[in-house]
Amino acid sequence: MRRLAPFVVLAALLAGGCDIGASHKTHGRLTPHTLEAVRARGYVRCGASKEAPGFSGPDESGRWRGLDVDTCRAIAVAALGDREKVRFVPLTGQQRITALQTGEIDVLPRTTTWTLRRDAAGINFTIPTYYDYTAFMVRRKVGVHDLAGLRGASACVQSGSMTEVILADVSRKYRLALRPVIFDNVQSTRQAFLSGRCDALITDASALAALRATLPGRADDYVIVRADSNVAPLTPAVRHGDDQWFDIVKFAIEAMIDAEQLGIGRGNVDRLLASTDPNVRRFLGVEPGNGRALGISDDFAYQIVRQIGNYGEVYDDNLGSRSRLNIPRGLNRLQRDGGLMLPIGFY
């Protein structure tokens, strides 16, 4: 190891060159009081992706849209009362966790799966906003209906993700002898599948649905086959060491889920201010206390529903029936409807 030292230093210089500069700059920002920093700055900085249709990305007019984007806006409403007081920092899959650790962003809602190693790496996961799973997409004319039908097929996969491990695991478990064709970026992987290099494309089911929606031809030219029974909870994350900010982000997300449970939506939120239901009154801040407990405005949940909507509305806007992706709610229904979205009490 001692002999390696010069190379380690050299490697650090090259690999971390920008990083070192950045963290020096941000050193002062790494205070435990994110809320204060956000208020002083006047906007929330959110990690985002430019090419995750339905989750995050600018539309034709340049306005950011998606489930992750709306989550960010909800956090901005909770912290600052205004859904526009937010800026999006586009990040690649490899940059995202470092960007959060070094204080470049305040919150990372970028289709990041909650895993043990990531959680242990200096960040805290809040509340899942989407439950995804890994799947293969195959051309319908090939006639594949289940995993067994994929025996001997070649599969295009992106490196550096959990997906390639799932591909290897599935192949080993069911002796499918899958032939991986691996690329280091999303575009090459998709292009290889579309040009016929592979029989299957494996990635998150939501990304497959999004891709399928953008392809020419009919959507049912392609079949999506679930790869395993694992569920990937895509969860916004915050830095270690600021419990108040951790709580604010959690309840900004929960406000959307609870609102759906309570039957509060964009259309009726103002009317329901006069509701006699104590749950609704507490939620909307008519009976104060919730916001103050978090150190923010008491009407934050009301503002989130009024400016953005409840979880069901946000889902339908970006991923569901009102979007071109049209992904069924599935696991992302409320717990009372058989899904995994769990409302936590606003008491």
Binding site: V8, V9, I20, R151, G152, S159, S171, G196
Partner: protein
């Protein structure tokens, strides 16, 4: 000669010491910043991750690999791919450079123009662009696997790769193979030492011994004809489009540079040498072999050294067309283990070592050609 530094006064030593101190200070500052940053992110520098399991797949490799092997072995497998790739490109591009160089040197106008155009075109387009061109435009335009083109019996061209029928030896072939390999090694050693007569005797002996063993061991040949399964070809040998693209693209690219190095070597030999050898009654071919080439080699070998090192380093571009070289595997391993610093350090150390090995071999070759006929 006086030893450098000896007998110098303070005026000479002070700047040297100051520079050394400044350098040491810089290294210290960088090392401290790195360790501070790592501490803040709860990162620990350790090579222990090499022993953990590599769960990720590697698309293809010369050495056997399966998910579940160690990370260290994944690195070795990537290294195997890189070395095989580099050697292949070095040999093929140098061979391909010879006709181009001779064409550029010839009196034939068309050959000269074509070769010149080839060199200009290939040298002036970035290698990454060329690799993507061969992969995405040419190889992906091959027919799909079900409708494979079959230009020759047993040869299939598809956008899943080039599949050929292979011929294998049936029976216990190891003694025969070992004998032939041994004979070939002896031949090469003799040829390297310049004992051509001895080398040809070894070749003859190898052929005879190999044939005798073939009959004695009752060996046979069997063809392995590829057949189409539900999705892909099985049997035979398949060169994937990723492998073909990186080898073909890099060979084309490197051959243009090799051709220029060879040509400049030939041009560097003074005209007088041609005239002198003609005056001695040597034919054009004889003058080339006996007079010009030995002198040209002295000018060719040193730039070829950097050419080969460039080929080694350019092999890391394999990742843009999805071929898993060491760089690709290391990046994947870093992504799965989070040990970025260690992974990059290993990469740098390995490439530094490989490049040094190339330099060492080329320097020895250079010493030989400079000595020859000097």
């Amino acid at each position: 000669m006086r030893r450098r530094g000896a007998g110098h006064g303070w005026g000479w030593w002070l700047p040297q010491i100051a520079l050394l101190l400044a350098l040491a200070g810089l290294v210290l500052v960088v090392a401290r910043t790195v360790s501070d940053n790592m501490e803040r992110q709860d990162m620990v520098l350790s090579l222990g991750f090499l022993r953990s399991t590599a769960e990720f797949p590697i698309a293809e490799s010369f050495l056997a690999y399966a998910p579940g092997d160690t990370i260290a072995w994944a690195f070795v497998v990537g290294l195997g791919n890189s070395i095989a790739l580099t050697l292949l490109i070095i040999v093929l591009s140098t061979m391909a450079g010879v006709p181009v160089a001779l064409a550029r040197h010839s009196g034939h106008m068309l050959a000269r123009t074509l070769a010149g155009g080839f060199v200009d075109l290939v040298r002036n387009v970035p290698l990454v662009v060329q690799l993507l061109f061969w992969y995405g435009v040419i190889l992906m335009a091959f027919p799909p696997a079900r409708a494979a083109a079959q230009p020759l019996p047993g040869l299939f061209l598809t956008n899943r790769g080039i599949t050929v029928t292979t011929v294998g030896i049936t029976g216990t072939a190891l003694p025969m193979i070992a004998t032939v390999m041994g004979g070939l090694t002896l031949t090469l050693v003799a040829a390297w030492r310049g004992r051509l007569h001895q080398a040809s005797l070894y070749t003859l002996g190898t052929i005879v011994a190999g044939s005798v063993l073939w009959v004695v061991l009752d060996l046979g040949l069997a063809r392995d004809v590829p057949h189409f399964d539900r999705f892909n070809f099985s049997g035979g040998l398949t060169l994937t489009p990723e492998f073909v693209a990186v080898v073909w693209g890099s060979v084309i690219y490197a051959s243009a540079f090799a051709a220029e190095i060879l040509r400049s070597g030939l041009d560097g030999v003074p005209r007088g040498q041609w005239e002198a050898s003609r005056a001695l009654g040597l034919s054009k071919r004889q003058s080339l072999r006996l007079v010009i080439v030995p002198q040209a080699l002295r000018m060719i070998v040193p730039p070829m050294n950097s050419q080969f090192i460039t080929i080694l380093k350019n092999s890391t571009l394999a990742l843009v067309v999805g071929y898993p070289d060491l760089n690709f595997v290391a990046n994947t391993a870093i992504n799965h283990t989070g040990q970025g610093l260690e992974g990059v350090a290993i990469l740098m150390l390995v490439f530094f070592t490989l490049a040094s090995a190339i330099s060492l071999a080329m320097n020895r070759l250079n010493a030989r050609v400079q000595r020859a006929g000097a």
